[in-house]
């Protein structure tokens, strides 16, 4: 199976506005150039495309790429992409060619998410940049906190946490950070900032937004990595650490009644 689309081939599709031509996409797609066991099929990809298009139908027409309302649609898409591509080998997941292919196949969602009004808005980076372009970003977002089924997770939606938080939070404090190797820390951060749903944040007696809260505390969490080996901490210990760091900078989390 071929799931690798090179940059020039993507450009050819864009230059000639051939987004709808799935046969051409298939013709342009190459082998990866390395051996890898692929555990999904072309049917899975088409299923994903169709379900992303279903999400698209509910997105208000006036949305641009920065509209805050994207959070609910990103949550749904995040769960969808990872649940269909749960067994994506990590070697493929870090291949731009794969994400270019997938994004080209599911171009309607990419166009909508970046607020394209025409083919002229095309940018290669919206398709193939790992952890940054929308589809890889959403897959890595889910993968960074994903826990395989176990007794501990029985009956819990494995994507419950991945669906919380803004795109800014995920990109700035998880996906771009080396310490995101620790799934326990990632899970603890999401829980700390976004559970429960309604929290009043106070920094040095001044009310602040959740964005300001994670921007302020996120820096401390990053610095702390040089003296605390996050990789060996349990999720509970990570939560304790985050709470202690918050208290050091006088960040208070008030739960709304």
């Amino acid at each position: 199976m071929k799931f690798n689309l090179t940059k020039p081939k993507l450009k050819l599709i864009a230059d000639n506005n051939k987004w709808k031509d799935q046969k051409l996409l298939a013709d342009y797609t190459e082998e990866f150039g390395f051996e890898c066991a692929i555990k999904f099929s072309i049917e899975n990809i088409f299923e994903l495309k169709s379900m992303l298009n279903e999400i698209n139908k509910n997105v208000p027409s006036n949305f641009n790429s920065r509209s805050p309302g994207w959070q609910i649609y990103d949550s749904k898409a995040c769960e969808l992409i990872h649940s269909i591509l749960k067994e994506l080998p990590i070697k493929v997941a870090i291949s731009s060619g794969f994400w270019r292919y997938l994004s080209c196949c599911c171009y309607e969602y990419v166009f909508k998410r970046y607020g394209y009004s025409s083919n002229e808005d095309f940018k290669d980076e919206h398709f193939g940049l790992i952890r940054e372009a929308i589809l890889p970003r959403l897959w890595f977002r889910a993968d960074s906190i994903f826990k395989m089924n176990s007794d501990e997770t029985e009956g819990i939606n494995p994507y419950e946490l991945a669906k919380l938080g803004s795109s800014d939070f995920w990109s700035s404090f998880i996906l771009r950070r080396d310490f995101a190797r620790s799934r326990n820390l990632n899970r603890a951060m999401v829980k700390y900032f976004f559970i429960p749903n309604k929290i009043n944040w106070i920094l040095k007696d001044i009310p602040i937004s959740v964005t300001e809260a994670f921007r302020t505390l996120g820096k401390e969490i990053q610095k702390q990595h040089s003296i605390t080996p996050y990789e060996i901490l349990s999720e509970k210990d990570c939560l304790k650490l985050i709470s202690e760091l918050a208290s050091e900078i006088n960040l208070i989390k008030h739960l709304e009644n």
């Binding site: 020039p8 150039g33 390395f34 980076e125 790992i130 080396d178 190797r181 610095k223 080996p229 990789e231």
Partner: protein, 310 residues
């Protein structure tokens, strides 16, 4: 809780208040092969063949410094963690309490099974970490020593990935093309925030990857010069793209980003220095090429050549 500031870079960073940070693990070493001689001063290893890497029983050998140990009055633990940035994978290979009375070398032979989730596309870090943990408190790192295994990575900027000859045809080259550089970044943030290895891709024709690697690793002047010439060509492309995209001094937010590595490499530390370099490049892009050749000491390597005289 005492907060001790620092940042993770892989170098020794001694946060204030933590003793033994440098000294405790200083004698620890990594061996690529059981036949090699230990040298605790070497922290970075260029690994040419991932397939053969495990055959020679590579090992991490942890030795705790006696003088530092004598001063430690609390329980300490040793952990060895292997980490890969590009895939954000990590595995804890070892975690035990240190027996302060019986200080002996701890050898851990690296086995392929530990690395099942790793891509080997770039650097892998092996961190030996000694930490203390008091009752009801979180662990604090007392000492860390990092060994970096670069799987054909160069300057930490890129790691060539083999591709079949047909791959180069798609990009307008041919079956005899040797390598291709692609920089997958179009805006300033991508140069300052993202790891270089995620956006700077170097592909090499698999027909000649092994031979080219042999040519580069002959430990002779010709080999060094060829290596530098190739690297300088790739670095030049990265530099030109950085200066083309970032019209203002890009402040790196990530120590492994292209901006961070290139500014450090070119010793640019201020907005003025950045602007001067940008004007220099705009006037003639070749200016950056000769500067990179100088930084990589190309002429000096060629001077070492001892070939037959005509």
């Amino acid at each position: 809780m005492t907060i001790i500031k620092g940042s993770e870079s892989g170098e020794y960073l001694a946060p204030g208040g933590v003793n033994f940070y440098k000294s405790l693990l200083k004698d620890s070493y990594f061996l690529e092969s059981e036949d090699h001689e230990p040298d605790s001063s070497i922290n970075t290893f260029a690994i040419s063949y991932r397939e053969e890497f495990f055959e020679f029983k590579p090992s991490i050998n942890v030795i705790l410094d006696e003088n530092s140990l004598r001063k430690i009055k609390k329980e300490i633990f040793l952990t060895i963690i292997v980490k890969e940035n590009i895939s954000r994978q990590c595995e804890i290979l070892y975690e035990e309490m240190v027996d302060l009375k019986e200080n002996k070398t701890i050898q851990l032979i690296l086995e392929e099974k530990y690395f099942e989730n790793f891509t080997f596309n770039n650097s892998i870090h092996l961190d030996a970490i000694v930490y203390s943990k008091e009752k009801d408190k979180l662990p604090t790192i007392e000492s860390i020593k990092r060994f970096t295994l670069r799987f054909t990575g160069i300057l930490g900027l890129f790691s060539p990935e083999p591709r079949p000859p047909e791959f180069f045809e798609i990009y307008g080259g041919g079956k005899n093309s040797m390598s291709l550089t692609i920089i997958e970044a179009e805006n300033k943030d991508q140069f300052t925030d993202l790891n270089a290895s995620e956006i700077l891709k170097v592909y090499i024709n698999e027909n000649c990857v092994r031979e080219f690697d042999l040519m580069l690793n002959q430990n002779i002047a010709t080999s060094d010069a060829l290596s530098i010439y190739w690297v300088s060509n790739i670095v030049t492309q990265a530099v030109l793209k950085l200066f083309a995209v970032c019209d203002k001094y890009p402040i790196p937010k990530n120590s492994e980003s292209i901006a961070s590595r290139i500014l450090k490499f070119l010793e640019i530390n201020s907005e003025d220095e950045y602007d001067q370099m940008r004007i220099l490049i705009q006037n003639n892009p070749e200016n950056i090429n000769i500067k990179i050749q100088n930084e990589l000491k190309l002429s000096e390597k060629i001077q070492d050549f001892r070939g037959k005289k005509k």
